[in-house]
Symmetry: C2
Subunit: 247 residues, 2 copies
């Protein structure tokens, strides 16, 4: 499995992805799931991928091929991120069906984010069916892969007004929380911070399995969560259940 | 959807369940998903249910019918909880296939817990396929339904040595956390605390939608989680990514 999240706030975007792929728990490999396309200072598109590895590699391969061949639609000339999401949806469907005729086993999801000339920064989630959604003022993050473990903390912290550092920290916390509950999500963890208008993907970081910070963050979050729980008020038991109502 | 959890600790069992059922978000009803069978002071079996409502009602109906007709296998004479889990698995499969021939739409999961004469207290999770698992020293809780949102907090707090009050509070926190992230899980929330050896299900509580405590717990957990996040150390950025490696 995979866990990737993109957070879209007023000041920019933050992308976090794990690097574990697996076909069963005994066939585990490491592949980056974060890809960037663009020219520094001009345009940047970031892609996060989840799902069938053959499909996601096929899609990334096609994107690179279209750039190389300066196809009519390619990431270095495409005018809007919405068009980019449409394009990724279309080639994802193509790749899912190419060798296999398609089916749930070959599905993949993508997050497509970044900023193009004369456009606002944005992020889209491309479903396996090829269609897509974007963020809103009320929903500032998009997740693909094993998204549920981390949703409670994102729901509580992420909003359009937080800082990029807070977004990155929250993305990392959501990642360590997911890793703890699901073995098939694992390091290296990649983080990319995109400041609106910078058109730069230079702020890309990678935390290896051996990362002391990742270990500290995990144990610190463990302690803080336990503390949070221990500081809750005791249960105020409501009236005891009237046994005659049921059974 | 549904969220139910059973926590099995040294001193007893704690069961927590929501009461929302739905067929699409515009067909939402309220049904208790917690059922108890036994004689006070002698034997107690508690069932939590998730999945297709016709199947779960069919299973509970069959359990009651078998008791009424003093069938060879029934909950008031069955010798072990493992046998009870087997029995629930078998009638669950029967009910899934009865009218429809079966299929994922008709599946249901159950938690079967409690204590029978001369036996230890225990809990089992019965899968839609009819087979079951139980708890261990390392895994002290079982969940059915929308289990992922709440797993991170349970993973961190629940162990065999915690008190029944702590188990109940953690079960409730896992419930409010799930409700916040998933609209199809909702009150009334039921909690049953079973002290080992008591053979009593008298400690059963119900928190209505209007429950002031539930509202307070939710907002308190919100605050504590935000505090936990705000108390984390800032990110120690690892070496910046070497761009030459990828893309």
């Amino acid at each position: 499995m995979t866990y990737c999240v993109a957070i879209r706030i007023d000041s920019g975007l933050c992308f976090v992805s794990d690097s574990r792929t697996n076909a069963g728990v005994d066939n585990v490999s490491t592949y980056s799931k974060m890809f960037t396309f663009g020219h520094e200072g001009e345009r940047q598109i970031v892609i996060l991928s989840a799902g069938n590895l053959a499909t996601t590699q096929g899609v990334i391969g096609q994107i690179k091929k279209d750039i190389k061949q300066t196809a009519q639609t390619n990431f270095l000339t495409i005018p809007t991120l919405e068009d980019a999401a449409d394009y990724v949806g279309a080639i994802s469907l193509e790749q899912q069906e190419k060798h296999t005729g398609g089916g749930a086993k070959y599905e993949a999801s993508f997050i497509v984010g970044g900023q193009l000339p004369d456009q606002k920064h944005a992020a889209f989630l491309v479903y396996p069916q090829g269609n897509h959604i974007t963020t809103s003022k009320d929903t500032s993050f998009l997740q693909i892969g094993e998204s549920k473990y981390a949703k409670p903390i994102l729901d509580r912290i992420v909003g359009p007004g937080i800082s990029l550092d807070t977004a990155a920290l929250c993305g990392l916390v959501s990642m360590v929380s997911t890793m703890r509950s699901n073995l098939t999500v694992g390091p290296p963890i990649e983080v990319l911070i995109f400041e609106s208008g910078s058109m730069s993907v230079e702020k890309r970081y990678r935390f290896e399995e051996s990362s002391e910070y990742l270990r500290q963050l995990n144990s610190s979050w463990d302690d803080r969560l336990r503390e949070a729980f221990n500081n809750l008020p005791p249960i105020a038991w409501s009236r005891a259940w009237d046994k005659s109502v049921e059974n």
